[in-house]
Symmetry: C2
Subunit: 234 residues, 2 copies
């Protein structure tokens, strides 16, 4: 089992600091040669290290050492920049699109509205230390946010909610599962189609316990780890 030995060897180099977070690995052909194997076998090792979250890949650009994951606590805040800042990381968001659209089947089901009801859909790409790590799609119920798009949605949505509409996130129902990146989502994250990813779905409720919006967050799975404290109810 060569591929296990190669995994170990690369892991050791990372742990020893020879390969620092964000560093690019040598070309596959060179790595294959230096491990005295073929590209196919080498890529098996790399793919497993990717699945493990030790390495990540940028499509056609190469393999890189994963930085520490962002600790994501669903209990604390929904505010990405604040979360990043609290962990001494730099955050940045890019607005991909903001529209009033007929709800997709998935969105309608999550928001418990009839299919094709009109909802706001806001897509963002978020960067962590200049690396694109998550594509967030928000589906927002217009009844609580009339003319939302006349306001600034390029920065923090939670801030706009609070300042313009007196709406504060109070509770959230979340669900974390594994998926893979496809099409535009993959492309925005500079990932190869089919790469493993983490999907975080959230349903957000305001201070009156009304369901006000939902998020679908497609994360590069090495970029987050879920971490929280829970008081057991049973």
């Amino acid at each position: 089992m060569q591929y296990l030995k190669i995994m170990e060897a690369i892991n050791e180099q990372i742990d020893a600091g020879l390969l620092a977070a964000g560093n690019k690995l040598p070309a596959e052909r060179k790595l294959a040669e230096s491990f005295n194997t073929t590209r196919v076998t080498l890529r098996e090792s790399l793919a497993l290290l990717e699945a493990e979250g030790k390495l990540y890949r940028e499509d056609r650009r190469g393999w890189f050492v994963s930085p520490e994951p962002l600790r994501y606590d669903p209990t604390f805040t929904t505010d990405f920049p604040a979360m990043a800042c609290a962990q001494n990381r730099q955050a940045r968001s890019e607005l991909l699109s903001a529209n009033l659209v007929p709800a997709s089947r998935r969105a309608a089901s999550l928001l418990q509205v009839p299919p094709l009801s009109e909802v706001y859909r806001i897509d963002r790409l978020r960067y962590l230390d200049e690396r694109p790590v998550v594509v967030v799609t928000n589906f927002i119920l217009p009844e609580y946010f009339p003319n939302l798009l006349d306001h600034d949605v390029t920065t923090s949505l939670t801030a706009t909610y609070r300042k313009q509409f007196d709406v504060i996130y109070t509770r959230t129902r979340y669900r974390v599962s594994t998926t893979s990146l496809l099409g535009d989502t993959a492309h925005a994250l500079r990932a190869t189609s089919g790469s493993p990813a983490m999907l975080v779905e959230r349903l957000n409720y305001d201070q009156h316990n009304n369901l006000i919006d939902c998020d679908l967050e497609y994360w590069r799975h090495d970029a987050i780890c879920i971490e929280s404290m829970a008081t057991l109810e049973k």
Copy 2:
């Protein structure tokens, strides 16, 4: 990009019910032939479907369609059989070992005790509908549970805690990340070394807010999805 087309084709067959949960796929050579490709390309598709959680693999036995994941709510209960039962699934546990051992570095750090302090270590393998899905290692502080091993640890630990020691889980700090399965853990789960997995680490506190034990849970990553409700504190 053949491998994407193959992924889609297999996905469709699953969605259409032609391949039901738990079913074994045809042999790789047959699949490769029917998709008019080679085993290498076919296995690329299968590996991605595995990463996505649609398929799983049993070492040297073949590829299977993943059942629905167990919804795991860290807020509700730490009791695996109860969780499974509430979702109409059948659960079973196997005791792998139970010993008093010097704490490993990881365990000592989690439990905040000096390295090599003696702690109980209990390893279990848990089955969901007769499929092994998680290896759980418990490290338990002996000071709260004198002579723990004289009691029954083959069934529910929480029950023993409660009945024999008046200790009730009250709070838990958890952390979810991705890893890969290696060695004995992989073998117990009938997985190939290096397969992607989910690691759930928990620190459990009793009704007096004392840290009493910790768990390391290595899950087949297609077998669970984290799902919870949180009240935001900020």
